[in-house]
Amino acid sequence: MSRRIHPAVVGAQPFQLTARETFDGPIFETEEGRRRLEAALSRYPTKQAALLPMLGFVQSVKGWIEPEDMVEVAEALDLTPAYVHSVATFYTMYNKHPVGRHFVQVCTNISCHLNRAEEVLRSFLAETGTREGETSEDGEFTVIEAECLGACGFATVVQVNDRYLENVTPDGVPEIVAKLRGARDGAAAGGPAAEGDA
């Protein structure tokens, strides 16, 4: 983002689900970490409310959250590491282990189920040569089954990193996987970005 991030939106920066950077030293001693923490704290009446934004921030840098990160977040927010762990493990979007460069989540909930979602899932697993939840040997793909992504009119819906692919059919999967292999990130995979996408 080119312009300075307004504190009102600091907790809502899209996670870069597959970023592979690490923090240069303790998270909240980095300039970005300190700035994010301060900005988040300014938006809530309690310190603890910054927990989800900060977990999101860690994941946005590393692509996943390690127990050591939870300890650092806990210290920054005056919480216990156990409590942070209990929160981090409650939510499905926090990756507790590293995922592939393309994190593919196939919705198989009811509307997608009615539109061959299970076949789409099997097709992704076959094309990437992985089992569900397993990262491919080249580190490119992790494919999982997901619960409703909230785009049921465009079944089957597949989320690749931070993009939705809509109306995916089992036959269309090989092309999607081939494009992803050649792409730098999920965004280049031909996701139907809306017109005027910000």
Binding site: R3, H6, P7, A8, V9, G11, A12, Q13, P14, F15, R43, Y44, P45, T46, Q48, A49, A50, L51, L52, P53, L55, G56, L77, L79, S86, V87, F90, Y91, T92, M93, Y94, T108, N109, I110, S111, H113, L114, N115, E147, C148, L149, G150, A151, C152, G153, F154, A155, Q159, D162, R163, Y164, P192, A193, A194, E195, G196, D197, A198
Partner: protein, 429 residues
């Protein structure tokens, strides 16, 4: 990109009329469409007057429960000296529903304006918009709009040059259906697991951060500016006495033209399914419809003449819910569909209440074995018994939400379950 679909049936696009226009996303484009005039008008009114207009309009909550919005606002204490909060529930995750997503990504300023007017009515100093974490694109669009609002005196200190101030903050969720339950949402906002709490305390007494709070759905708040602009009587020209206004319909499943539509409340459900959405792609008859999102009861293909109002769908034995019909054609395996729905609730149960935590998983296990042809004679009775035990006994309605489709599928499609049982077992059962 997805709205509106052409169809022969007349749509009434009020909430959605600017969806599909990239310009409407920008502050400039939004102002050119009359944006923020309703907010300006609300600043010349007292908070009580704003609440009265919304009360008179009969607007009901669009998140599923259909609670009258103005009445909800009126529960907020007055002059109690405490900070008040507004939470906008943008954690859209009811299977079948995808309407709030379109409001956010096409008309973010409409949502911000609705939030600000609601905040003014309830005396809130801060509006938190809780967006489900998976909505990256929607969040990016909303982020840009919130920054624009701050940069142009529409949020923060002294809004529109008045003495009134209100902050707006986007809070991204991280993947939990239960965060869409209002107390779960507030817990999540406060940095907790999104576990619902037993009421009382009600949000208007002690909600987010222990302070009086109102939680409203995206579509509810998006309807507020036009009500302020045109008045309650204008809004009541659509719909019925008890279900006034227009409503977004998220239509999915076996449909020729799935997608979002906006209609005046009260059309026959069959018109939406067959005329607007073109019926089933296979051309086969409709076997079943879940009319209000996966938490509502199945209707059979012969029960689709009911009016799409809160009362009409209740009389038909289901509910309007999130107005998200999921259509299944004649070839649909109802047991498999029900099993998939039950899996969702088992996955999303927060685990606090035993009836829900154990009950949802138990339902899945039974449905899986029936599906696999290993059903036991007592299984259907056990499912009915579970329906009984999972209703009205838990902190929130997640357990009840699986009972509505489950019990109705057993009542209406019992033959589908029995067809998967071994013949000897059906006779014995």
């Amino acid at each position: 990109m997805s709205f509106p679909h052409g169809s022969d049936l007349e749509t009434t696009t009020r909430l959605s009329r600017h969806q599909g226009s990239a310009e409407a996303r920008t502050l400039e484009g939004w102002r050119a469409r009359g944006g923020y005039e309703a907010l300006r008008r609300s600043l010349d009114m007292s908070p009580a007057e704003v609440t009265e207009v919304v009360k008179a309009s009969g607007l009901r909550g669009r998140g599923g429960a259909g609670f009258p919005t103005g009445l909800k606002w009126s529960f907020m204490p007055k002059d109690d000296g405490k900070p008040h909060y507004l939470c906008c529930n943008a954690d859209e995750s009811e299977p079948g529903a995808f309407k709030d997503r379109e409001v956010i990504r096409w008309t973010p300023h409409l949502l911000i304006e609705g939030c600000l007017i609601a905040a003014r009515a309830i005396g809130a100093e801060h509006a938190y918009i809780y967006v489900r974490g998976e909505f990256f694109e929607e969040t990016r669009v909303l982020n840009a709009a919130v920054v624009e609002a701050y940069e142009n005196g529409l949020a923060g200190e002294g809004i529109l040059g008045s003495s009134w101030s209100c902050d707006v903050t986007i809070h991204a969720g991280a993947g939990a259906y239960i965060a869409g339950e209002e107390t779960g949402l507030m817990n999540s906002l406060m940095g907790n697991r999104a576990e619902p709490w037993a009421k009382p305390p009600f949000p208007a007494q002690a909600g987010a951060f222990g302070m009086p709070t109102t939680v409203n759905n995206v579509e509810t708040l998006a309807a507020v500016p036009m009500i302020l602009e045109h008045g309650a009587e204008w809004y009541r020209q659509w719909g019925s006495e008890r279900s006034p206004g227009t409503k977004l319909w998220s239509c999915s499943g076996h449909l020729v033209r799935p997608g979002n539509y906006e209609f005046a409340l009260g059309l026959p459900l069959s018109d939406i399914i067959f005329e607007a959405c073109g019926g089933t792609p296979s051309g086969r008859p409709v076997k079943a419809v879940i009319p209000g999102g996966s938490s509502t009861a199945f209707l059979g293909g012969d029960e689709l003449d009911c009016a799409t109002t809160y009362e009409g769908l209740a009389e038909a034995g289901s509910a309007l819910g999130t107005a998200s019909p999921i259509v299944m054609d004649e070839d649909t395996d109802i047991v498999a569909a029900m099993r998939r729905i039950a899996q969702f609730y088992a996955h999303e149960s927060c685990g606090q209440c035993v009836q829900c935590r154990e009950g949802t998983s138990w339902v899945v296990r039974i449905l899986q074995r029936i599906e696999a042809g290993d059903g036991r004679p007592s299984d259907i009775d056990t499912l009915y018994e579970l329906c009984e035990q999972m209703t009205g006994r838990t902190i929130c309605v997640l357990a009840d939400s699986v009972v509505f489709p489950l019990r109705s599928s057993l009542d209406k499609f019992r033959a589908d379950y029995e067809a998967l049982m071994k013949p000897s077992l059906v006779a014995a059962g």
